[in-house]
Symmetry: C2
Subunit: 450 residues, 2 copies
């Protein structure tokens, strides 16, 4: 159903804001994007965010507006994990089936490219313009130098809040009655570090792998960039025995890297320099409801559902919001009230599901990867899935390589977990984990759970 062109403001020129601008321009709307920060294309990127892993949902949303090819140019496909476990040679774990991969993309480069593309579609960008207040029922926004300076008033038909986890638009909605909201920080922080390219511009580690150094309560990961470097992220508790708090001097940092990450020892000077230069960031799960105000205002992406990054789905979930919005615009045309109300009803359970899955992955990574029972269970699941790929699709694949709802992946994952709990109770499971008996047991439990 065609839409009457509207005058639309988007707050936030990040990935979600600029993709939404492209979608709305293609539908014929006027679009102005406000951002309190300067144009990211004009500044050196701060490096304060984990590299992105674009997967199925992200690609589908880009494809819809013909951008998949342009973005693949700046990404590197990763078809496997490279596990750097202490005292073992590096080993690899395929992510999915042949041809399935996640893509490593630098957030900064992607954001610049997306803004270029949105501009080419006719979006107006107003950088360095800070939105301080939003009149929700009237769809007005107020901008100015500071919270207390003179403000400029803008009138729109519709406002989208794409201004991230600390959204000003949501902040305004939050002050209304009956607005549910929560923010929960985890006790682990992160810091970005860099492994530079070889002198000839090649990568120092396998380029098509997502590198992980799991160390129990903390871990290091690395994702390749197209310039030959790797962006590493160190996840480490804020406080405690081995923590951001406990590493005070360059000597401490060097000793830390040397002890726990011996196979990156050549990089220690770089890592140590970065450690003290780069900020330590916190991670939060943010949930809220409702996401929309009447037919006037809607939150999209992190402003509606910020999640911890351990499933690599933050941006993918935000892009999928836009995909769903577009489906509903096609369905409901000018009935923005129905578009917004359906949008939040459809997306909220899925946003909650990926928040839960991401948090569980954090718990799993920090406390279970050393548990032999857990590792055995994973081994049995993998063994069974290989034999019965149509009967046992792992949750990771459902989240990463499909576009079925996150809520469905969570529900099926819980069902699989229940089955595995029964399986793990079998006597001598350690010895017979790959036996016919175990296989039959799983098959029977699967049948019973239908």
């Amino acid at each position: 159903m065609a839409q009457t062109p509207k005058n639309i403001a988007i707050i936030g020129s990040g990935l979600v804001g600029s993709l939404l601008a492209i979608y709305l321009r293609k539908l014929g709307h006027s679009v102005t994007v406000f951002d309190r920060r300067p144009d990211i294309r004009t500044i050196k990127f701060s490096g304060r965010s984990i590299n992105l892993a674009m997967s199925n949902r992200g690609w589908r949303s880009l494809q819809k507006v013909g951008l998949e090819g342009k973005i693949k140019e700046i990404g590197i496909p990763l078809d496997k994990r490279a596990m750097h476990v202490n005292d073992k040679p590096v080993y690899f774990q395929k992510y999915g089936k042949e041809g399935e991969a996640i893509w490593s993309i630098s957030r900064g480069i992607l954001n610049k490219r997306m803004i270029d593309l949105a501009e080419a579609e006719g979006t107006e960008f107003r950088f360095n313009e800070k939105v301080w207040d939003v009149d929700l029922p009237e769809a007005k926004i107020y901008t100015g130098e500071t919270e207390k300076s003179e403000w400029k008033e803008y009138q729109y038909d519709i406002i989208f809040g794409c201004d991230g986890a600390f959204s000003r638009v949501r902040h305004k909605m939050q002050r209304r009655s009956r607005f549910d909201y929560s923010q929960d920080f985890i006790d682990v922080g992160y810091k970005e570090l860099t492994i530079p390219a070889n002198e000839d511009g090649t990568h120092k580690l396998d380029k098509n792998s997502f590198h992980i150094w799991p160390r129990g309560a903390f871990m290091l990961i690395a994702m390749p960039n197209i310039d030959g470097s790797f962006t590493c992220t160190l996840f480490l508790p804020f406080e405690g025995n081995v923590s951001f708090e406990s590493i005070k001097t360059e000597e401490d940092a060097r000793a830390f890297f040397k002890e726990y990450f011996p196979n990156v020892r050549k990089e220690i000077e770089n890592l140590t320099k970065d450690f003290f230069q780069n900020p330590t960031s916190a991670m939060v799960t943010m949930k809220c409801y409702p996401w929309t105000y009447w037919n006037k205002v809607a939150l999209v992406g992190d402003s509606a559902h910020a999640i911890v990054p351990f499933y690599g789905q933050g941006m993918n979930a935000g892009f999928e919001d836009i995909y769903v919005l577009q489906e509903l615009m096609e369905k409901y045309g000018d009935d923005w009230e129905s578009i917004f109300s359906e949008y939040q009803k459809q997306r909220k359970p899925n946003a909650d599901a990926i928040a839960e899955l991401s948090y569980r992955n954090f718990v799993e990574m920090s406390s279970k990867t050393a548990d032999p029972k857990f590792l055995l269970q994973k081994k049995i699941e993998k063994h069974f899935a290989a034999k019965h790929p149509e009967k046992w699709i792992p949750v990771y694949s459902r989240v990463t390589f499909s576009d079925r709802p996150y809520a469905e992946a969570l529900a099926i994952g819980d069902q699989q977990e229940k089955i595995m709990k029964e399986v793990m109770k079998l006597p001598n499971i350690d010895d017979k984990w790959d036996s016919k008996e175990v296989e039959d047991k799983i098959l029977r439990l699967l049948k019973d759970s239908k």
Copy 2:
């Protein structure tokens, strides 16, 4: 341990703010209380809050500063519930043992009295002065006409945020990293209604009872005032079949009261008038952490832990915060860092526990009071508690008539619930609920759970 006098600001002149002022004055501190609203002693009370039920924890906190007697003057003891169940004569349920009662007190009258008392102790009150910003590390506050007007700056040694569920002080803390926060509204709203006194000033219903008209998804309660009137609170879903939304006209309201509350039919005109005159309010559970900032700022009462009112513990919990603060001030003297850090550590689990208990009471009232299984369980518990009062103290008594931690009441309540679940599984429990067999079973389960 004596304390060096400090210059202290309290934001909020409500019950918690004024009691805290009295405590701090008695310890020799200078105290200024800011409130954005006018002096409650100069205005007709808005009536926008449930009447209070002062119980053990509240009284203990008043006693400590010698105020118990002065406040009992304006309260009425309620030693029982009066249940107005449809098609049954009114019946009464004793709250506790002989002499145990909760006290009905009008929030407005109590607040006026508390401000008088705080002023008599030498507290400075600055009404109509709106705090817009707080500098947490410097303990400065900024006040002014509007958020955008010229602001006045005040410097203090310590700031207490006693500014309720929508606290400005907490709002400032919330913008810091690693501050956990949640607000969850329930789908039921409330409205205050009044039953006036008889012409001779006496009460129209039994004066020493807490009156309840349970109706499944909604209910009416009434608490006596010293002027002979009753303050009623109607709890009703916002939306749905019988809801605030569905009652649109005076005719609707009259029909509603007539159908569901036949024994207050003489009051229908009054109730109907109030229904359209008084606001409908929402109820929220608000949690956050941390509650303090270094040795500079602390949240006390609803600003730190707002709860739904179904246990009658909101004010009692806030007063208990103050009692605990005072104990810690005695212990740690001028070491305000330890006072604040111990305060939040001690109180947080208890605040979470009373939030949970209050929410459960809401669920119980709205969905379980009609369930015969639930009523039978309650009957068995009561029967057993009467026979073994030292072995089975109901959660309600632990919360209301003791000063043991809320968290303990919750834990023991969960244990009792587990035991009762087993008991309810006994075959033919309906017939033998008061048998020796059931009694012995409970005794055995109690012993096993030690």
